[in-house]
Each structure stands twice: as structure tokens, then as C-alpha cells.
């Protein structure tokens, strides 16, 4: 038995040596884009690299908007078997850069002039300690309203531009026996709305003070209580069956005229297009009332893991390919987001895409491009999730606004 066990172990060891090390001319990419459109768009990247003689080893792990992939990443890094390149969101990049795990992309960035073309707000995440550590693929903005145009026309509702107009519009929809607000009761969706509501209620400076600086005074302020009160108001326009609903099912409610509005990031556009709807005719996309000048964003970026001291040629090739305008256009037209560089033509994009690109450029110029709190671009994961807990408990009626504000202050403090 002893002998048998020994043999087994030797066999195991022999088998492994063939697979563990990534060889020259290969990149192993950990990502969570596995659904039809976006995976197909990523395939463009793969083919680009293969035409340069770099083979793509696909390591997709979907689930939880990337959290599952982050768990896998931690196991792989701990095992000393990090993938070549990894898809990241927001603060995860900073966290891993702090661990000294990410490769320095400064040479490529200088060569390709990233400093000029990438918005400064994104650079906050792409750079650590003055060094480029990640290449951004896209910019999603999260403060969009999606509306069913025929339904609004039928009820004589104009596109609302203020909070009061929004409420009046929703009141009309409700009175007509339709669902005013299509929403899925999941923590991240509740908080996506909260993000927009806080921005609209308190403005960008308040938003930054509360969610970026985590200033207890701002978190505990009357403005924050007002934001929670507005959440309670919105709760009144959601149907009874909202809890746990996936976001795309909520989108479907707007598409088929069951509901009038949904507050969701620009990925919702894909659902409309897939259902054969045309922006401007069948559905409207506009900024959440009161946040017309702001763009709250999240950005998918790829970082390269250190394998040896320098960036390998394959990693460099991948980083360049990601930042190439042709890939940025091909990918973002499918994904619903907009390119992460501001010097790309908008010719290929639809009306909503064009608006998104124009908004991004304007917000970038006026300092109104702000990381979304709900999507992990305002504060680290621990704080973000602590805020989730409070927002979702309040939205589900477990707290009144007063309690929610004081819980928010405590939860953020504990999480830091």
C-alpha cells in the first residue's frame, strides 16, 4: 500500500509538470465575460493576438459580477500559479497592486500615449503609485434611466428632468395601472439606484465627501436622510414581486410595456437591442433626473500579473491590443458601454452610445466623471458591501430613514 501510494504521488507529480507553467507565446486570461455578445466581442481580442502569434488560453469564471473570479484569483495567486492577465473592477486593482503582484506597464503606456487618451478618473484605478498597472477596456455608466417610449407617449409623459417631474411621471404611470418602476430587489440593484439618488440629492461634492472620503458627517447628514427618504418614495412605485428579480427580467418589463422606467447601467441596452427595439423610437435612454451633468462609472480593466520581473512580450501585446481603437469600438458596441479612450470615433455607435460618449467627454472635461459607489469605484469592497447591507435593509423596510442613516455611519466605520 505504501508503495502504491508512493507511485500515485509520483504519477501525480509527473503529470502536473506538463501543464503548470505558461510558456512563451501564450497568455492565460481570467475573466467573467461568458455570455453570448460580450464573449464573442472578446473573441475579437483573441483573434487579434493569435494573428500576432500569441495563443489565448481562456479561463472564464462567471458569477456574482466578478466576485467568483476574484475568489479563484486569490486561490491561484496563493498557489503560485497566477494567470497571465486578469479582468478587474475598480479597487481590486489597487488592492492587488498594493500586494506588489501587478506588472508595470509604463513602457507600453508611454509608447501608446495612454496618459493623454484615458480619462483621469479612470487613471485613478489604472495607475498605482505613478505606474500604469492596468489597461481599461470600457466605461460603463450607471446613472441611466431606461423608458418605454410608446407607453410614455400614450400617457402624455415628457422625459423627466427633475426629481419632482420624475415622481409626477411615475404617479401617472401608476394611476394608469402599470408598474412605474421596474426593479429587481438585489443588493447591488438597490444600491445602483441609491447611487443615482444620492448624486441627484446632494450633488457631486456631497457624493465624493460621503462615498469617497467616507466623511462620517456627510454620511450622517440630513442630505443623506433625504436620500433615504427618496428611496422610500421610489419603493412605492415598485411592484410587489420585485424581490430577488434579476435585472434583465426587470428590463424585460420595460421592453414589453408592463413597466415604464428602469434605473440601470448601460448594459441594459443590449436587452432592448436584442428584442429588436430602436433607441429613440421604442425606448429612451437619459440620465437620472438631477444628474444630467454627471457620469457615474465603472470600468473593466485588464491587469497583468508579474511573472518574472519584466512585462513579457505576450503581456505587452495583449495590453496594446486591448487599448487599440478598433478593439475598443468592436467590444463596446456590443457591450453597451463606451470606449475607455476619448479619441475614438463614435460613428459605429447607436444613439444611446453616441450620447454616452458625448456625456463621458463632457463629464471628463468638467470634473464630473465620478466612480460609482454601487459598482466599487468609490470605496473598497468592504465598505461598499457594508453600504449595500444598509441600503438594501432600508429598501426592504427593515429600517426607517433615521435608523438607516445612523446604521450607515456605524457600518462604514466598522468596515474600514
Amino acid at each position: 500500500m505504501r508503495g502504491k501510494f508512493g507511485i500515485t504521488m509520483t504519477a501525480l507529480a509527473a503529470l502536473m509538470t506538463s501543464a503548470a507553467v505558461a510558456e512563451a507565446g501564450e497568455v492565460e486570461v481570467l475573466h467573467w465575460w461568458t455570455s453570448g455578445g460580450e464573449a464573442a466581442a472578446l473573441n475579437v481580442l483573441k483573434e487579434d493576438l493569435e494573428s500576432q502569434g500569441v495563443s489565448w488560453q481562456d479561463m472564464p469564471v462567471a458569477g456574482g459580477g466578478g466576485t467568483q473570479a476574484m475568489t479563484v484569483l486569490r486561490a491561484r495567486v496563493t498557489a503560485g500559479n497566477a494567470p497571465t492577465a486578469v479582468q478587474f473592477l475598480g479597487f481590486d486593482i489597487t488592492d492587488w497592486a498594493k500586494e506588489g503582484a501587478l506588472a508595470n506597464l509604463n513602457d507600453i503606456a508611454a509608447e501608446e500615449n495612454w496618459d493623454e487618451v484615458v480619462p483621469k478618473a479612470l487613471q485613478k484605478f489604472s495607475k498605482y503609485d505613478g505606474k500604469w498597472v492596468a489597461a481599461p477596456v470600457n466605461v460603463h455608466s450607471t446613472n441611466w434611466v431606461w423608458a418605454n417610449k410608446p407607453l410614455l407617449d400614450e400617457l402624455g409623459i415628457a422625459q423627466p428632468t427633475t426629481w419632482d417631474e420624475l415622481i409626477a411621471a411615475m404617479e401617472k404611470v401608476k394611476a394608469a395601472g402599470k408598474v412605474a418602476l421596474a426593479h429587481g430587489g438585489q443588493a447591488w440593484q438597490d444600491t445602483t439606484i441609491f447611487d443615482a439618488v444620492v448624486m441627484s440629492t446632494g450633488g457631486p461634492d456631497f457624493f465624493r465627501k460621503a462615498f469617497v472620503d467616507l466623511d462620517p458627517e456627510a454620511l450622517g447628514s440630513d442630505t443623506m436622510k433625504e436620500a433615504f427618504d427618496r428611496m422610500s418614495v421610489l419603493r412605492g412605485y415598485v411592484d410587489d414581486n420585485f424581490s430577488g428579480r434579476d435585472w434583465n427580467l426587470a428590463t424585460a418589463m420595460v421592453i414589453n410595456g408592463e413597466a415604464a422606467f428602469q434605473f440601470m447601467g448601460d448594459w441594459a441596452k443590449g436587452e432592448f437591442l436584442n428584442a429588436g427595439k430602436t433607441p429613440g423610437e421604442d425606448f429612451l435612454c437619459f440620465r437620472f433626473p438631477g444628474t444630467q451633468d454627471q457620469v457615474t462609472f465603472n470600468s473593466d480593466q485588464f491587469a497583468m500579473f508579474k511573472q518574472g520581473d519584466t512585462v513579457s512580450e505576450d503581456q505587452a501585446a495583449l495590453a496594446k491590443a486591448i487599448m487599440s481603437p478598433s478593439f475598443q469600438i468592436a467590444f463596446n458596441t456590443v457591450k453597451g458601454s463606451v470606449p475607455a479612450r476619448t479619441d475614438v470615433s463614435d460613428a459605429e455607435f447607436d444613439a444611446c452610445g453616441k450620447k454616452g460618449m458625448a456625456d463621458l467627454a463632457a463629464a471628463n472635461a468638467s470634473g464630473n466623471l465620478i466612480g460609482s459607489m454601487a459598482h466599487g469605484h468609490a470605496n473598497p469592497a468592504a465598505v461598499k458591501n457594508a453600504i449595500y447591507d444598509v441600503v438594501t435593509a432600508h429598501f426592504n423596510g427593515e429600517y426607517d430613514s433615521e435608523t438607516a442613516v445612523s446604521e450607515l455611519v456605524t457600518a462604514v466605520e466598522i468596515a474600514q
Partner: protein, 300 residues
């Protein structure tokens, strides 16, 4: 390997004969010692450190524990595991026993029915989660179907309610495991010594009395095995929650396993995650050690 070959050299043969069983057992024991108990010690240590995204070794005393106990989500998780665990174990046992007794009445197509009861155990919740979610959803599932049949006041919206959602978790969990428990009880019933029953029957005992007084007491070992399997499943329930409610509505269906995963991996607060794992292990030990002790000692 073979003992007989070395029989000439008596001393060595004796030594080998004595040592061989322990040698055979030792790889398993070594593996468990390192990969279970080593890791438990490691986790215990982590729970006193400032670990966040990856393990780190700066000691912070009891801070993780004080934070853990101040978290509302942890209170909810503990309360839920008590509700979920006790209902799940109780219902599985009762239902499993009832089905086993019914199926033990020389039923036609027993094998077929048994397979239907057993098959849920073969499926993971990644697979069945969506189906359950739909079925429990009042908009499209049971409630909608019953209403479409004409009973328009019918209500079944537990999964949407903070107070009731945990019970829908119980329903799905019972669905998965009760067939397995049924098989364990069925096996127990088939192994019962029926001489005593015959005697009691002659004395005029009813079927009900036969089961209550004679059969069920004899199933004690089956109850014990079922308890071990069920307790183990109750504590480890994770996929189920994620697939069915994702911990919601709000945080109403958080369980310690989901709490631990979320703090360790999603929230990058590995220290608090380790503290919750430690508490969880202590709770498991508090239940299992006395049980194992009594079971194993009896058999000596």
C-alpha cells in the same frame, strides 16, 4: 508486501505484521491531520490577525471577534441557521421515515418510486436553483398557476417576504435530501428483527402501536446516521442560498456559510471571515463531539 515471504526471518515478520495495518492507515491519517486539523489551526490563527485580501500575520487580538458580534448580518445568520437547521433535520427525518414506512408496504413499482424520491440528491443546486426560484416566484410560479386555475385569492409569496423566505429554503433543502433519508430508514426497516412484532401482533397490537413501540425504537442507529448526514448538510448549505435567494430579501436568508464566504472573499475582510469560521467550527464540535463520543464508546 506479502507477509508469508518474510516468515523465515521471524522478528522482522512480526514487526511488519504489527506495523502494517498502521502503515496502511497512516497516509489517510496524515492527510486529514494536515489538511483538516492543520487548516483549522491556521484559520484559528488568522482570526486574530489583520488579514484582508490575503492572509497576513499582524496580530490584532480579539478585534475580529468583537466586530463579528457587532454585525447585524451575523446575528441574522446565526438565527437563521438555528431555524433552518432544526426544521430541516426535523422535517427530513419525519418525512423520510413516513415515506419509508409507506414504501415498505410491499408497494408495486417500489424501485421506480424510490428512484424518483432519491434523484434530487444527484443534482446540484447550480442546476436546480433556477427551477426552484421560478417555481416559488409568485409572478410566474405556483401562485400564478393556481390563480390561473381560478383560485384568484391564492397566495404563496414566501420567497419575497423577509419573514418567510427562510422557510422556502427549507422546502427546497428538504426536497433535495429527504429521499436520501428515506433510503436510510427503508434500509433500517428491512433489517428489523420481526419476531417481537409477531408476538405483539398476536397480542392484538394495532399497526400504529407496532410502529410506535417496536419498529421506530429499533431504528435508532438509522436516526443517528441520518442526523450526522443532515447536520453536515445543514451547516454546509451554501449553493442553495446563493441559487435561491442570494441571501435576500435584504439579508433575511443569510446563513453562516454565506456570511463566511462573503466576508472572506467578497468583502476582503478575511480576519472576520476566519473568526466566523472558528465560531462555526466550535459550534459543530459542540454538537458532533458528544455524539461521536457516545456512538464510538458504545461499540467498544
Amino acid at each position: 508486501m506479502s507477509v508469508s515471504e518474510t516468515s523465515g526471518r521471524a522478528g522482522r515478520a512480526d514487526w511488519l505484521r504489527d506495523a502494517l495495518p498502521k502503515l496502511v492507515l497512516s497516509p489517510s491519517f496524515a492527510l486529514v491531520l494536515i489538511f483538516v486539523y492543520g487548516f483549522i489551526v491556521f484559520t484559528f490563527y488568522l482570526s486574530f490577525t489583520d488579514s484582508r485580501i490575503l492572509p497576513s500575520f499582524g496580530l490584532v487580538g480579539w478585534q475580529n471577534y468583537t466586530r463579528l458580534f457587532s454585525l447585524r448580518a451575523w446575528d441574522i445568520a446565526v438565527k437563521n441557521v438555528l431555524i433552518f437547521g432544526s426544521l430541516y433535520i426535523l422535517i427530513c427525518c419525519v418525512l423520510g421515515l413516513a415515506l419509508a414506512i409507506l414504501l415498505d408496504q410491499k408497494i408495486r413499482a417500489e424501485g421506480f418510486i424510490r428512484t424518483i424520491y432519491l434523484y434530487p440528491m444527484a443534482l446540484s443546486f447550480i442546476v436546480t436553483g433556477t427551477a426552484w426560484k421560478w417555481f416559488l416566484d409568485p409572478g410566474i410560479g405556483l401562485e400564478a398557476v393556481v390563480r390561473s386555475w381560478g383560485w384568484t385569492s391564492f397566495e404563496f409569496d414566501w420567497i419575497k417576504s423577509s419573514d418567510m423566505a427562510i422557510y422556502t429554503i427549507v422546502i427546497a433543502a428538504v426536497w433535495q435530501t429527504s429521499g436520501f433519508v428515506m433510503a436510510m430508514f427503508l434500509a433500517g426497516l428491512r433489517g428489523i428483527d420481526n419476531e417481537v412484532m409477531k408476538a405483539a401482533q398476536i397480542d392484538g397490537a394495532s399497526n400504529w402501536a407496532l410502529y410506535r413501540r417496536i419498529v421506530i425504537p429499533q431504528l435508532r442507529p438509522a436516526f443517528m446516521s441520518a442526523f450526522v448526514v443532515l447536520a453536515h448538510m445543514a451547516i454546509k448549505s451554501y449553493d442553495l442560498i446563493i441559487a435561491l435567494t442570494g441571501g435576500g430579501p435584504g439579508t433575511a436568508t443569510e446563513l453562516p456559510a454565506t456570511f463566511m464566504y462573503s466576508y472572506t472573499f467578497t468583502r476582503n475582510q478575511m480576519g472576520i471571515g476566519a473568526a466566523s469560521a472558528t465560531i462555526m467550527l466550535m459550534a459543530i464540535a459542540a454538537i458532533m463531539v458528544p455524539y461521536l463520543w457516545s456512538e464510538l464508546r458504545e461499540k467498544k
